[in-house]
Chain length 228, copies 2
DNA sequence: ACGGATCTCCCTCGAAAGGGGGAGGCACGC
DNA sequence: GCGTGCCTCCCCCTTTCGAGGGAGATCCGT
């Protein structure tokens, strides 16, 4: 698998390429919707002796397209991006190469995001408050085929295991709830009766351990189940 | 005022200082709680010929302290930071030098944040999705004593003008509401009766143009009036 | 001294929301 | 084929909300 990746990489060398002479650089692709962050990350990664940024993507679609062309060793992927969410982009990439080394690099420490990111196939999940040194360590680890988790992230993930998982329907209802809709409006939106909505809400409240819809919204926001 | 700033800057040259020979560099201080972002920003700013990052702060307190020591020409300030919020840090700095050039650089485009940042005395408000070129332009503008607003930010600000402003009490109640508290609980928290809470809620609903507490929470979250 | 804004508290009343139960249908896995 | 989980809908009942009024107190700027 490694041999194959190297071979494909050889003819795909295009894009930003600051140090061509040096042998065996870790080829990094950056996907982040903030140009400032992309350029900043690229700058500090390129300062490292063993890594080189070969491409930058500003949204999920671009990330997948660039990954196909460049076949980077490591992809740094933000989650919240236009056009295609990071999680979806990861799925598409992993569908083509299950061994692809992808690092989620984001500000969100919601357990839901972490879980979704890793489930999609990311090898590592880093919060943007990491020290640069830790990022470099992570890049090298993923390049070597290893997984990498920050303690904080691992703790969040473990915590999620102990939490009740909501059904698809419950999440739908929770989202509509968070938009401020009434039970009746939720029912109309989902083509079910108000009774059914209440029924779902009941189990929802039990699972989230709350007693009011307002509490439910607050908790859902904290966990990243709904986005504003 | 400019002359004074230059004079003070002369003896304060310490910290990170990559290009000392070149004359009249714009001396930039970065305050952001993400080391990765700090280093990234510093890297690309230092690539510019006329600017140089002289210091990096990881929280609000550090930002104020470093600003005192370094007296930079321009300060890039994130809003959400540990220990001391960006807005507070801006206030403290402006209290010492009303002419201080401060640029808010953040991901939040909530009108409330924008308003608070500029009211505190920032000369510019940039969203992190700006192109690096625009950031450089902004730094130069602020260094020249000018204000700088992105069209998107200006639009948000204009929009806010047409919105009803909430009273202090109403904001307090809105925050407790967003935590999922009942009217009674809110009353107990604020040492007022439930009737009074309802009374405030009435005007709150009218101002926000909503009909339920859930809607109010959703809207407040969108506007940045409450943080999760 | 005045209006205006804000905060405080009170009333009623109908409409939602929440708590307690039960129950049928349906798909999925063991 | 039988349980299990999920979705659907129903009942009753109590509590809370939200809408409609009104009203006194304070502070502040003019």
């Amino acid at each position: 698998m490694l041999a194959r990746k190297q071979a494909e990489a050889a003819d795909a060398r295009r894009e930003t390429e600051p140090a061509p002479g040096t042998p065996r650089l870790i080829r990094v692709l950056i996907a982040d919707d903030h140009p400032l962050v992309r350029r900043g990350l690229a700058a500090i990664i390129n300062m490292e002796e063993d890594a080189s940024v070969v491409g930058e993507a500003g949204d999920g679609e671009e990330a997948v397209a660039l990954w196909r062309r460049l076949r980077p060793d490591v992809t740094l992927m933000d989650l919240r991006m236009p056009k295609l969410e990071g999680v979806q982009a990861i799925r598409q990439i992993r569908a083509e190469d299950p061994g692809a080394g992808i690092i989620v690099l984001t500000t969100f420490d919601h357990d839901e995001d972490i879980y979704a990111g890793l489930r999609a196939g990311a090898k590592a999940y880093l919060l943007k408050d990491v020290q640069p040194e830790e990022l470099f360590r992570c890049i090298r680890a993923v390049h070597a085929g290893e997984a990498y988790l920050q303690p904080r992230v691992a703790a969040k993930l473990a915590q999620r295991m102990h939490e009740e998982t909501l059904t698809e329907r419950e999440v739908q209802i929770l989202r509509l709830l968070a938009e401020g809709k009434s039970n009746r409006a939720i029912g109309q939106a989902l083509f079910i009766t108000e009774s059914t909505v209440k029924s779902h809400l009941k189990s929802l409240f039990v699972k989230l351990d709350v007693t009011s819809r307002a509490e439910a919204i607050a908790l859902a926001a904290k966990r990243g189940l709904v986005k504003f």
